[in-house]
């Protein structure tokens, strides 16, 4: 088994689930993850020398999904002028949010897209705040603010009074 095979086996599922938690669409998430891993494989000599190659994969996969979402929005806004009823691709479809815990899906559903992505990458992808910022293409401060707001919203949704230290670990 090559280095890349081991890397793929260790990280593929976590990347897919993180994307799925954040973006909702199962097929797009797998597509984007495969695209990102394929690009990593092509540049494996340089990617493998990075501190955490998985972060690079997250960055590429998130970029790919956002590119697709933009394309969908353009396409669907064009078709909606013809009177077609299409769902908003940017919002997770509950039927696509196939995770083992139903409460999890429902709670993530109350978060706006940016907060959902930050939470998924930070707590499922196990990325640091700095890495999440890189993946989201924003500043660390923005990530911290998104996580803080997400925790507050989740706390209300879950009826929990204990505030989590979401901003630690950068």
């Amino acid at each position: 088994m090559t280095d890349f095979d081991e890397f793929f086996a260790a990280h593929y599922e976590r990347v897919v689930v993180s994307l799925r938690l954040a973006f909702g669409s199962s097929s797009d998430s797998e597509d984007a993850a495969q695209e990102a891993f394929a690009k990593a494989m092509l540049r494996w000599r340089s990617v493998s020398r990075m501190d955490r190659p998985s972060t690079w994969v997250y960055v590429v996969a998130v970029r790919e999904l956002r590119r697709r979402a933009r394309r969908h929005v353009h396409r669907f806004s064009a078709s909606s002028q013809d009177g077609n009823d299409q769902r908003d691709i940017g919002t997770p479809d509950p039927a696509d949010m196939v995770v083992t815990n139903a409460v999890l899906g429902a709670a993530l559903g109350v978060l706006p897209a940016r907060q959902r992505l930050a939470v998924a990458l930070r707590f499922h992808g196990d990325l640091s705040v700095k890495e999440v910022a890189r993946a989201m293409g924003c500043s660390e401060g923005t990530v911290k603010a998104s996580l803080h707001a997400a925790m507050a919203r989740l706390r209300v949704h879950l009826g929990d009074r204990d505030l989590d230290g979401a901003n630690d670990g950068s």
Partner: protein, 427 residues
């Protein structure tokens, strides 16, 4: 659940059904290959541009015309038209069928069948042999005529069945015991689903086989009791055989001892299974579609896969939207067939829709960008395949991914596979 529990559950979240890592790894590998191929093309174009600039000339790259070379014989007479059916025996050699029938309303149809042979992967065809003035006694309308080949053996099967052992030059009539509705040839012999009555009459479909050297057809004593006239016969290995009656009865049949005994399989979408594909001894897929929907929609398309020979199933793809072919199955287009060419490779031509391929066992589908409606597929391995549009155009793949027009002219699809979200079904 408090926030700590929530974050714990979030960290441990998984997907249902679990991801199949081998499939994903293979799909990723294929993407890498595609990237590398694209890079080579870009490098080639860049080189041409540089050369053109250096030489001070303009290089015009034109697509080679295939139409002129298609039917030209090389020393022997060519075919008068592109074959409507093809059956290839290796990456370059194949046979094609051209039929011309006189079909009066109140008399027996009479057909002339020409067998073509190609030695260059289907680009050019020469006439190999001919079966003249075949009368289909008692039949009204067009008879069933189809083609199969293995090595130098060629079969023309249907209402009447003929075989050739010399590459289609000479034919003799076979007596399989009736109308052959499905046919499979492997090295150890030919198998056929046979009925001794017309489709409108009720009688049993029997399974029969004959050795490659010819002789008498042997009828399997314990084949399943099927009365529906249209069946699919799939034989992925010498021992394993599947029979699917296309009647929506919700069952298929499987034998693991070369047809001596059979077990009944309960299908996941009982009323709408239209095609079955199998690879190896235990991996099998069934494609479902709503037969009552318009051909342009074919709503509630669904693909299920089994890893245990068809006893348990899991859904791997559903139709998700008219515009999103990439990822899942499109709503538009009724599936005509389903062919497995490798453990994770599937192809399905859609009626008045695209030819779709999956490289990850059915989870994700890509448009093959074949700009004609495809009615027949022929593969010799996972890389080499041919797609026909019924005599108008012939396409070929040599890498199991990309398809190219090699003969004829594209037939544009008249009806685009579109639908509104109201037709999108979820299982």
């Amino acid at each position: 659940m408090d926030l700590d529990d929530f974050l714990g559950a979030l960290a441990a979240a998984a997907v249902v059904p679990p991801l199949v890592l081998d499939d994903a790894r293979e799909a990723t590998e294929l993407r890498v290959r595609r990237y590398r191929a694209r890079r080579r093309i870009v490098s080639g174009i860049a080189l041409v541009v540089v050369l053109a600039t250096v030489l001070g000339g303009i290089v015009a790259v034109t697509r080679p015309s295939t139409e002129e070379s298609v039917f030209v014989g090389q020393g022997r007479p060519g075919l008068t038209a592109l074959p409507s059916e093809v059956a290839f025996v290796d990456a370059t050699h194949g046979f094609g069928l051209l039929s011309q029938c006189d079909v009066p309303l109140d008399a027996d149809p009479v057909c002339d069948i020409t067998i073509g042979a190609s030695a260059d992967g289907g680009r050019t065809w020469v006439a190999a042999g001919r079966i003249s003035q075949i009368r289909y006694a008692g039949w009204r309308g067009y008879p069933f005529i189809d083609l199969a080949a293995r090595g130098t053996h060629v079969w023309v099967y249907g209402n009447r069945t003929f075989s050739s052992a010399d590459g289609g030059k000479t034919f003799g009539e076979e007596q399989p015991g009736g109308i052959v509705s499905a046919f499979v040839a492997r090295n150890d012999g030919a198998w056929a689903a046979v009925r001794d009555c017309a489709p409108s009459v009720t009688c049993a479909t029997k399974l029969a086989s004959v050795s490659m050297s010819g002789g008498t057809w042997h009828v399997f004593a314990h084949s399943p009791a099927i009365t529906y006239p249209y069946v699919q016969l799939v034989r992925p290995t010498a021992a394993v055989v599947y029979l699917l009656p296309r009647d929506g009865g919700g069952v298929a049949y499987r034998s693991v001892d070369s047809g001596r005994s059979w077990r009944t399989l309960q299908l996941p979408e009982p009323h709408s299974v239209v095609a079955l594909a199998a690879f190896g001894s235990s991996r099998v897929w069934v494609m479902s579609a709503d037969a009552n929907a318009a051909a342009t929609q074919g709503g509630r398309k669904q693909l299920a896969r089994s890893e245990d020979g068809g006893f348990t199933w899991r859904t791997v793809a559903v139709d998700v939207g008219a515009f999103t072919i990439r990822g899942q199955l499109p709503v538009g287009g009724f599936p005509q067939d389903l062919v497995a060419t490798a453990r994770n490779r599937l192809w399905t031509p859609l009626d008045r829709g695209p030819l779709l391929g999956s490289l990850d066992g059915g989870g994700h589908w890509l448009d093959a960008h074949v700009d004609s409606p495809i009615v027949g597929l022929s593969f010799v391995d996972a890389q080499h395949g041919w797609a026909t549009s019924g005599g108008a155009a012939l396409y070929r793949t040599t890498d199991g991914v990309h398809w190219h027009l090699i003969a004829g002219r594209p037939v544009k699809v008249n009806v685009a596979p579109t639908a509104t979200s109201s037709t999108v079904g979820r299982p």
